[in-house]
Symmetry: none
């Protein structure tokens, strides 16, 4: 028996999509490939008819099941693994997975983790600020002459690779990854500590914290590890308070 | 060097597409994946603006290069190999290739043959009559619950597989991993710091440090990251020294 990606644990998260039609197209593509969870963040409620026109009748259930959030952090808070899609491989960006590599990775990860596939708006994609939430990035390869892929076509390719990915029935052990909520709590605590000891100042906090986030998201932290890190921070903080010159 | 599909010998043939927007979407997808030849058969000339809206400026050259025919047989007459795309696997249909199999096959075939990828209209696909022209069929796998794929999304998947089969060994960016020497220096520094702040005591140092090592070796740390971690430790240490009660 082949084990595939557990698609009920996969959610497409569209951040600030501009065109209602794209939500419909995405719903259809996702359902074509067995993925039925869609979240829309930060867009005004769109005309259901416009969305359905591109979703077609077949994906109406996915459209009606779309969950909406105002805030990206809130939308992602319950997920254990967030994958950002990006076409820009700029200076500030981390190494990025090939869609096929991502799909292979999700076969194991999706078995007991909630996975968000995060797509930015049609025109500019995800900002660096939004990419902070991501454990991994994926980039769809393109020809040099035309790098800009339409939103729903990008969703289609990622979902298609996920649909095809599978592995033999070998035993796997995937520990439970920390949720975004747990991670954000930890980052807040790290930032407070490092600010307190002057490792970061208000002026360079974003840059420094981005380095730390990039490093720690590469790790795929387990809940247990987040607790250890927070314990260390707490101890450092406590020790500092106890020994502070008065 | 790997030989890939010769994309200048590949042409997308849209048979009787109903919506001008789809021609634009197809042009964009094809160009994303390095395919720039598009033929439209049996549709009335469509409004260029409507097509360009979905092609975007980037694929305007593909749109303006679209060749038009009234008759499918005439359109296909110059091709050496015709591949029909179908989602219906009816009685009358022959065995159908997986998109990845097709792409692999085209690597050789495209070197000195003109290949047409034939797509039927949005609603009903290719008729049995039209399939007669085809040397091979390809079917995109889908979930049972939603088998109908939008025209341009079907084109995207086929072109994506062709693009990947057509690539040489892709460039991989692997940052420099830290050496054992760098790692051991870092662990020593972490242990000293955590001992100083009473997070670990001589009695449980081995156990605690083993957890930290296990966690950090899971990461495959880069040299750059080791330097960041050591910088944080140094700063914490310095700060405690400065503020220590005397």
């Amino acid at each position: 028996m082949t084990v595939g990606v557990r698609k009920e644990n996969i959610t497409i998260v569209l951040n600030k999509p501009k065109y209602p039609g794209n939500i419909g197209s995405v719903a259809r593509c996702a359902k074509n490939m067995g993925i039925e969870n869609v979240i829309v963040v930060g867009s005004p409620p769109a005309d259901r008819e416009k969305i359905l026109q591109l979703a077609t009748h077949g994906a109406a259930d996915v459209v009606d099941g779309v969950r909406r959030f105002d805030d990206l952090g809130e939308a992602l808070s319950g997920f254990n693994y967030v994958v950002g899609t990006t076409s820009r491989l700029g200076r500030a960006r981390r190494p990025s997975l090939h869609p096929r590599e991502l799909a292979a990775e999700l076969v194991d990860l999706s078995q007991n983790n909630e996975v968000a596939l995060l797509f930015g708006p049609e025109d500019f994609g995800l900002t660096n600020d939004e990419i902070r939430y991501c454990h991994a990035l994926v980039t769809i390869p393109t020809a040099e002459a035309m790098k800009s892929i339409n939103l729903s076509h990008a969703v289609m390719i990622i979902c298609y690779e996920i649909f095809l990915a599978g592995r033999g029935d070998r035993e796997i052990f995937t520990p439970k990854l920390a949720t975004v909520r747990e991670l954000e709590g930890m980052y807040g605590q790290i930032q407070a500590l490092l600010t307190r000891v002057d490792f970061i100042s208000p002026g360079d906090a974003d840059h420094r914290m981005m380095n730390i986030r990039r490093f720690l998201s590469r790790v795929k932290l387990y809940s247990r590890e987040v607790r250890v890190i927070r314990g260390v921070c707490r101890q450092l903080d406590w020790y500092y308070g106890r020994n502070k010159k008065t």
